[in-house]
Subunit: 344 residues, 2 copies
């Protein structure tokens, strides 16, 4: 489900842009108008095993379907934005060896999606696309520059400076989950296999691991009973336990916020953005829940203690606002920025 209200083709401001959010499981495609308002969206399975050429064809078809569903004239759609997981070579428009898309190595995805959609394609990292969406019409719409962390199984990142996504020279910019927060030899191991990275402490994977370790070491928690009853350890279960007064769950979640705060300080002292936006599934309900509000508060507290006074006071730290739509809206936004730049 799109969390955004859709706007009709007659009320929308042309030109229009199609945004493609390619994930390991699903591909979400939506048509977006020149003001960043979604006009339609469709979702199709990624089905990586059928291979990248077949998926590129389905992405092209989904673009055409999103245009049809929006009731838009084909000529008003001028460009496609494609946000994809890495690894990738953004200037070359190629995937390299994407771990979440096995068998898609070295695929020239930008040009193949362009072929099947009949439109020029702007190619971006999925983290950069989500950040651009929040920057354009989400939490960051008043910011001149922004850092976004997407909290989930891993920790994704996006950095927007001078209206560009900071892709880096080797398409490895804004890998914010992989900044180091602990230099020591006994630091935790990240999902990527290296030591001391933020993702090894503050991702959903890390929270579950740290919780399991605490339970194994004999810490008391209502979670033990639930797990004995066959429930599965998830961030949602840990969040529910915290909300019902489980002090271990509360402690581990607030510790997660502390780790994030440490990472946010390093990003602030590097980029010094107007704002830092936290998105993704592992935000414990965000502003909607008391736990989500305390989580954000704890991140800010850590920033206050560790950052220079001026950025600590002035940098806005907030939750994302576009939910699962950030990816396709942001991909469309990157296509729009390229389009307007080319038009001059």
């Amino acid at each position: 489900m799109s969390t955004r209200q859709l706007i009709s083709a007659t009320a929308a401001k042309p030109p229009f842009f199609a945004g493609v959010d390619l994930g390991g499981t699903n591909i979400k495609v939506g048509l977006v108008d020149d003001l960043g308002r979604p006009m339609s969206w469709v979702s199709v399975p990624t089905d990586p095993r059928t291979g990248p050429e077949d998926a590129a064809r389905r992405m092209g078809e989904a673009v055409l379907e999103s245009i049809k569903q929006a009731g838009a004239e084909r000529e008003r759609v001028v460009r496609v934005g494609l946000g994809s997981p890495g690894t990738m070579d953004i200037p070359a428009g190629k995937l390299l060896e994407p771990p979440n898309l096995p068998g898609w190595d070295n695929f020239p995805i930008r040009d193949r999606v362009s072929y099947y959609s009949g439109l020029p394609v702007s190619f971006a990292n999925d983290g950069g696309a989500a950040a651009y969406g929040e920057f354009w019409v989400g939490s960051g719409e008043d910011f001149r520059s922004m850092v976004m962390l997407t909290l989930g199984t891993g920790i994704g990142g996006g950095i927007i400076v001078n209206n560009f996504s900071l892709d880096g020279e080797h398409s490895h910019g804004a890998e914010c989950g992989h900044i180091i927060i602990d230099y020591q030899a006994d630091a935790r191991v990240c999902n990527c296999g290296r030591k001391g990275h933020l993702e090894g402490y503050a991702s959903a994977t890390a929270l579950m691991k740290r919780t399991q370790e605490a339970l194994d070491s004999g810490r008391k928690s209502s979670l033990s009973h639930r797990l004995d009853n066959g429930e599965k350890l998830t961030p949602i279960l840990i969040g529910m336990a915290a909300e019902t007064g489980d002090s271990l769950a509360e402690e581990l979640i607030m510790e997660t916020a502390m780790y994030l705060g440490v990472g946010v300080v390093s990003l602030m002292h590097t980029i010094d953005p107007d704002g830092v936006v936290l998105g993704g599934a592992m935000t414990f309900g965000g502003h909607e829940t008391e736990l989500g509000r305390r989580f954000l508060q704890r991140v800010k507290q850590e920033v206050d203690e560790r950052a220079f006074p001026i950025p600590a006071q002035k940098t806005v730290i907030d939750y994302a606002r576009l939910g699962g739509d950030a990816g396709f809206i942001g991909a469309a936004g990157i296509a729009r920025a390229d389009y307007h730049r080319e038009k001059g």
Copy 2:
């Protein structure tokens, strides 16, 4: 002494730019041609106690003196670049509360130097200016983007992306010495008073502190004898001990390189630049000495272990090349970039 060969006004390519490198002790001013070649330089004491207005007047006079010394026509000098220590508000052209320039709070330094020199002034952070110098005509001249760390009493930083110094929204970008490498409660305290920052581990201050701690804890070293004989503990003394086979000194210096490598990885995973340049006094002779070469090698080794394979392979990590001239050359380079942007 300038380490660069000076070029004559007749051989130089106009227009010319004056670069001012304002330090807590000295002000270095030089005239630079359109290709980044220094034509002259002068140094005057900062003498912060006489106040900022008097210093601004001396900076203006030094600019005129540098033009005279170069034998350049006044009309060919089109702009001044001023690199200054912070804290500062770069867009406003103001110092805020610079700790190294006591009593200079809230001084509109850009406009006052412009008044006394009779030229428009581009205002920059000293770390950004040094980085721009290396990027323009130093170690980074082949890079499209670059991160620089200046290793001394503290650790300064500069980041160049899209031919701009990344100043940040609150003039606190590229504070690379203040990214966090240890989140823990017992982390070392930085010169800035906060915990876990890179500068608290890898600056000259930190190296001396860690050495003193090791000696106090009873570690054996030739340094003990030297200190007993009244020598003062300095990074140079520690470096000399390492070069003559002192294993404690060697260990502490290589540990410093390890800390730096950790910080460099965080910067690489954020900016993903073409290159990282290490400058400043605490580089143990750089490429000129065996110790300097081993120091750089140890930084690279840490990067290889902690960074993603593609940036680890492709990112150049090297020493700076302009020495103490980077500041004024880079300030002139920032003035030049502003000049050519305005000309269109």
